[in-house]
């Protein structure tokens, strides 16, 4: 299997647009592919397709439950917790778990010498599986509202990829922090989608530097080409980063996307260029296959 992450430092550059169009084009040309929406805070990829929901997986973490009849208010659990999620006032015998801050590390249970802490699962989100012809083709991670970190849900979604699949397309979360790293770390190649504006350039630069620090090969797609200036092109040239494609700005494209439709479905030339782009990436990087 070959895994391609589609990412962007800046949000809204067309990352999901590129991911769904690549996926659609691969499938249409008879290739075996799976689309994984790792943007768990704002998952939008599955909505472009009409595939059948064939399974859901609840993602939970274990949070502490304190048995106050056994607690001696020694505050050791509070001391062990690095996330300030145990609130304790020993003189007045008050102890409370602040579940929203808990990362489920289990340190408090290890700390407690009185058997006062047990654990229960707490919901973080859902992984949904969408299938076609008995085969999972879209995996969506969706974080619950109010949850702090998307990372556990993203991890759970990536775990669902069948290693027998030919190509996995990972729609990555924006930014360059934990959720982004978690997604791109598992990929063989990263497609960075940017736009030719000062904000686009600034965020692209940060993404490129981050990917270099973890030795991840990448290439760039400039979306909405013609809208801003040439600074992004100059940067990509100077840094010798492969420019994979330029997608010209068009109101028509923006309109098709805004309706939740896929351009590659009605534009065979665009679909064809996406398929050959992916085939070239695999040809050049196919031997660097990710292992964990």
């Amino acid at each position: 299997m070959f895994r391609i992450a589609v990412a962007s430092g800046k949000g809204g550059t067309g990352k999901t647009f590129v991911a769904v169009n690549i996926f659609q084009s691969l499938i249409k040309s008879g290739l075996d592919a799976v689309l994984v929406d790792c943007d768990a805070e704002a998952p939008n990829a599955a909505a472009f397709f009409t595939k059948k929901l064939t399974g859901t997986i609840a993602v939970t973490q274990l949070v502490p439950v304190i048995d106050e009849s056994k607690c001696v208010y020694c505050a050791k659990c509070h001391e062990y917790c690095n996330y300030n999620s145990i609130f304790i006032l020993p003189p007045v015998k008050i102890i409370k778990v602040i579940v929203d801050l808990c990362h489920g590390c289990g340190a408090c249970s290890v700390a407690c010498n009185y058997g006062a802490i047990s654990e229960k699962p707490d919901s973080l989100g859902t992984v949904s599986l969408f299938s076609e012809k008995d085969r999972v083709s879209i995996i969506e991670s969706r974080m619950d509202i109010g949850v702090m970190s998307a990372v556990p849900v993203i991890k759970a979604a990536i775990k669902q990829i069948d290693p027998g699949t030919g190509i996995a397309i990972l729609d990555s979360p924006p930014g360059t922090s934990c959720p982004f790293i978690e997604t791109v770390a598992t990929a063989d190649f990263v497609i960075l989608v940017t736009e030719p504006t000062p904000f686009g350039l600034s965020d692209l630069r940060q993404s490129v530097e981050t990917l270099r620090s973890i030795d991840k090969p990448s290439g760039v797609i400039i979306n909405r080409a013609g809208l801003g200036n040439n600074a992004v092109r100059d940067y990509v040239d100077r840094q010798e980063i492969p420019l994979l494609m330029e997608i010209p700005f068009s109101k028509k494209t923006a309109e098709i996307y805004s309706e939740g439709k896929i351009l590659a479905g009605t534009d065979p030339a665009f679909a064809g260029s996406l398929v050959s782009m992916v085939q070239n990436i695999i040809k050049d990087h196919g031997n660097s296959s990710y292992k964990r």
């Binding site: 430092g9 800046k10 949000g11 809204g12 550059t13 999901t16 805070e41 704002a42 939008n44 909505a47 973490q61 274990l62 062990y80 690095n82 996330y83 990362h103 489920g104 590390c105 289990g106 340190a107 290890v110 974080m143 509202i145 109010g146 949850v147 702090m148 970190s149 998307a150 991890k155 979360p173 924006p174 930014g175 360059t176 922090s177 934990c178 790293i181 978690e182 770390a185 736009e195 504006t197 000062p198 904000f199 600034s202 965020d203 940060q206 530097e209 981050t210 620090s213 973890i214 809208l227 801003g228 200036n229 109101k251 923006a254 309109e255 996307y257 805004s258 309706e259 939740g260």
Partner: protein, 286 residues
């Protein structure tokens, strides 16, 4: 008054609109809380007079002179960060959550927790007042702690310089940094655009804002890219008691202004977008 601008979906024009608000009235404190992609400084070239180190978390590091490869840490780690590779215990920097548990239970005291200290917070002046912004180092956990630090600094700055308005450019998404951005503010502005994806992300953002009972205002940007979609967003807002503060057309001048390091209201205040933004701003602060 503290006003936070968020979006759910990225790239809806949140930062450009925030920049416009910052240049519409008197001097303000501008806080860039999109610490993952802090871009506001590109428009305003602030002169920073203060830089501080921000520790975003910790990472576990093994001292191999002490490690006996007992693998106890591996059994305790809930983040799949510790594995064994040919008899050697390895900690993945990417997966480590910095919970300290392995360092506490290691019988050989072979694990130390090293602070992540590459992130920075800056404060300084710009042409419309004071600016505070954070820059999170790549790969560090955006736990909202840096957002809290930026907001705290912005409040101090407002008091120190006698500035009444704090405008916050928030991060995309609905996670921890967004929650830190909006908790306790007086107004939340949600910038959306006329696409199906943006509507779905806006619905999630509104739900987060609801948890804090803060008045929310929606701005539909680029409404003319799909007017029926824009109508659908307005209908959703009407049905969910969310105020639509205004609609803005798709406008290439926003990008032109950005290239000139200006907000649209500095670049062309009499443009349709400029005028509309002035009306929207007055609605929000009234």
């Amino acid at each position: 008054m503290e006003i936070a601008v968020i979006s759910g979906k990225g790239g809806t024009g949140k930062t450009s609109i925030t920049a416009s608000f910052a240049t519409l009235g008197g001097d303000v404190v501008l806080a860039d809380c999109d610490v993952d992609a802090a871009n506001m400084y590109l428009l305003f070239n602030p002169v920073h007079d203060e830089e501080s180190v921000f520790v975003s978390g910790h990472k576990a590091v093994i001292d191999y002179d002490l490690c006996t490869s007992c693998a106890l840490c591996m059994n305790y780690c809930r983040f799949d960060a510790i594995s064994e590779d040919r008899g050697r215990i390895v900690i993945s920097e990417i997966s480590c959550d910095g919970c300290f548990l392995c360092s506490r239970i290691c019988p050989e005291k072979a694990i130390t927790m090293v602070p992540d200290d590459k992130s920075r917070m800056y404060s300084g002046s710009f042409r419309k007042g004071r600016m505070v912004y954070g820059r999170l180092a790549p790969g560090e956990e955006n736990s909202g702690k840096l957002v809290n630090a930026v907001r705290e600094k912005a409040k101090q700055t407002a008091a120190q310089y006698g500035l009444e308005t704090i405008i916050i450019d928030g991060p995309p998404g609905i996670g921890c940094p967004v929650i830190s951005t909006i908790s306790g503010v007086d107004r939340v502005v949600i910038v959306t655009e006329a696409t199906r994806s943006a509507l779905s992300d806006m619905e999630r953002a509104v739900e987060v804002v609801r948890k804090f009972s803060i008045p929310a205002f929606v701005i539909i940007n680029k409404f003319d890219l799909n007017e029926s979609m824009s109508k659908e967003i307005e209908e959703w807002c009407a049905g969910n008691n969310v105020v639509v503060a205004g609609r803005l057309p798709f406008d290439r001048q926003i990008t032109e202004a950005m290239i000139e390091s200006k907000s649209i209201n500095e670049y062309n205040p009499e443009s349709e977008t400029g005028k509309k933004l002035r009306v929207i701003w007055n609605k929000i602060v009234s």
